[in-house]
């Protein structure tokens, strides 16, 4: 039986895996100790659990457990990683390179640092969403201390050439930070092979609990340090103070372990469903898939349905299907997605986009239902769209003098 509503917004957050919840429960009640309590068994149990989770998480990304710094999530990780490097390496330089399609947690952190004297280069992306490595190379300066490029994009799912980016940063003596929140647990991420120095990620995007994340900080070749952004008890090797969220961390560890063992099977199944959905929706006229189709996360598809507006489109089925749109109307700002605009899409196509994010529990039945509901709504709204009528009559819509407001 098809259970409604269907959740296709897994880039926003994921449901917690029941195996994760099961692992967490004892750490709320019986094993409630503070992992920093060194003098009694409650503290020892908690610390042991945290250390085990650290190993589980490190294993998923090919790191050493000592390189995992627990945080409250990826926004904190982005802030700590970037601001922490800026402060720690101030004597080396003040130049940071990032790109225009980064998450706001990265972009706004960079803007904040600009006010403090940082120089920031925002690389444009190519129409497929990937950065141009030659442009990155050309942007490197002797004062460049950090290259901050995301692993995979949250709106279109494109996966950046991380290995090459890491190599360029290393060649020029800069550190490489990556926001890997969408990638870790979904595709193989290996901090050694990828040449990553600092990496932010979070539990709730990989079927773990909300409110817990990690910052990978490399300890060898080179040994990296970030300046703490909160003063306190000096937890996490002095880089992040605050009592550890033990149940959350235990859950994060379990989620990482499951992601590692189930990744291959999950990816195979989910990418098949994604391709089925995408291929079916592409049959609709004037439909465009956004982002490089080859270098892309296996569970994401971002599609623009020209001549219909995204929020209006979602209204046709949002009782039954949960997903996101790049339309302005979904935000208070009335600006359409800056990520889609950065690809060079006109505002009209950005307004017409939907992001489908499939997940571990997505079924074929749900995908069939979604194909039908979305297709029907697109056709219905096009019958109602003056732009569709003009397009059908051969009117050049771009040539019309629209009154902008």
């Amino acid at each position: 039986m098809l259970k409604l509503p269907i959740y296709l917004d897994h880039n926003s957050t994921t449901p917690m895996d029941p195996r994760v919840l099961e692992a967490m429960i004892p750490y709320f009640t019986e094993n409630f100790g503070n992992a920093a309590s060194r003098n009694h068994s409650f503290g020892w149990h908690a610390e042991e659990a945290v250390d085990y989770a650290r190993e589980q998480i490190a294993q998923l990304i090919g790191a050493d457990p000592k390189e995992i710094i627990f945080t409250s999530g990826a926004t904190e990780g982005d802030n700590l990683g970037i601001k922490g490097v800026y402060e720690m390496y101030a004597s080396k330089g003040n130049h940071i390179i990032t790109c225009t399609t980064e998450h706001k947690a990265v972009l706004d952190t960079c803007k904040h640092l600009e006010k403090l004297g940082a120089e920031v280069t925002y690389l444009e992306v190519q129409p497929d969403g990937l950065i141009d490595l030659k442009e990155l190379e050309a942007a490197m300066r002797p004062t460049t201390i950090l290259v901050a490029i995301m692993y995979a994009n949250n709106e279109i799912g494109v996966v950046q050439p991380v290995k090459e980016i890491g190599a360029i940063a290393k060649k020029h003596g800069a550190l490489f930070f990556t926001d890997a929140v969408q990638a870790v647990g979904k595709i193989p991420v290996d901090v050694i092979a990828d040449g990553i120095d600092i990496m932010a990620f979070t539990a709730h995007k990989m079927y773990g609990p909300k409110g817990v994340g990690a910052l990978y900080v490399r300890r060898k070749n080179p040994r990296v340090k970030v300046t703490a952004q909160m003063d306190g008890g000096g937890h996490e090797r002095g880089m992040r103070s605050g009592t550890l969220n033990v149940p959350g961390i235990v859950g994060f560890g379990k989620a990482a372990e499951i992601a590692r063992t189930d990744m291959a099977a999950d990816t195979e199944r989910i990418s098949k469903l994604r391709d089925k959905l995408e291929n079916a929706l592409k049959q609709i006229d004037e439909t465009y898939v956004n982002g490089n189709p080859a270098h892309r996360l296996p569970h994401v598809s971002n599609i623009s349905f020209k001549y219909v507006e995204g929020e209006g489109l979602m209204m046709g089925f949002n009782k039954d299907i949960a997903l996101s749109s790049g339309s302005a109307c979904t935000s208070a700002s009335l600006e359409p997605s800056y990520v889609l605009k950065a690809l060079g899409l006109g505002d009209d196509l950005a307004h017409s986009s939907l992001r489908f994010g499939l997940g571990r529990y997505t079924t074929e039945e749900q995908i069939d239902f979604t194909i039908k509901a979305v297709s029907e709504t697109v056709l219905k709204l096009r019958e109602m769209s003056p732009l569709w009528e003009m397009f059908k009559e051969g009117v050049d819509i771009d040539a019309i003098q629209w009154a902008h407001h």
Partner: protein, 138 residues
Amino acid sequence: MAYSDKVIDHYSNPKNVGTLDKASKSVGTGLVGAPECGDVMRLQIQVDEATGIITDAKFKTFGCGSAIASSSLATEWLKGKSVDEAVKIDNMDLVEELNLPPVKIHCSVLAEDAIKSAINDYRVKNGLAELVFEERIH
């Protein structure tokens, strides 16, 4: 953000979707908004030249549910009104009737603009002076 029942009803069962002959002298057409802004409304009125009464109204809208509902409701209100009465339709009446939240008020403004633009198109076609409306900030 939840939609009001009235918005959902107009979205699900829009009234008067369609196209009138824009070349006809008795038809006024208003096309407002811009694709870049995520809203385009086309509203048309058919006027009985003898009585000045709007006998039919049609719309097509590219936009969110509130924009579709605003234009659908506007066509309902236009039918049976004289052109002079129709000019007086105020966007806040649409807001009230549809229970639009503040962030969606611009949808109702657009519908009001579409009505005025259609009326002016009709007036110009019939040798009447264009009405001048106060500039509004959307």
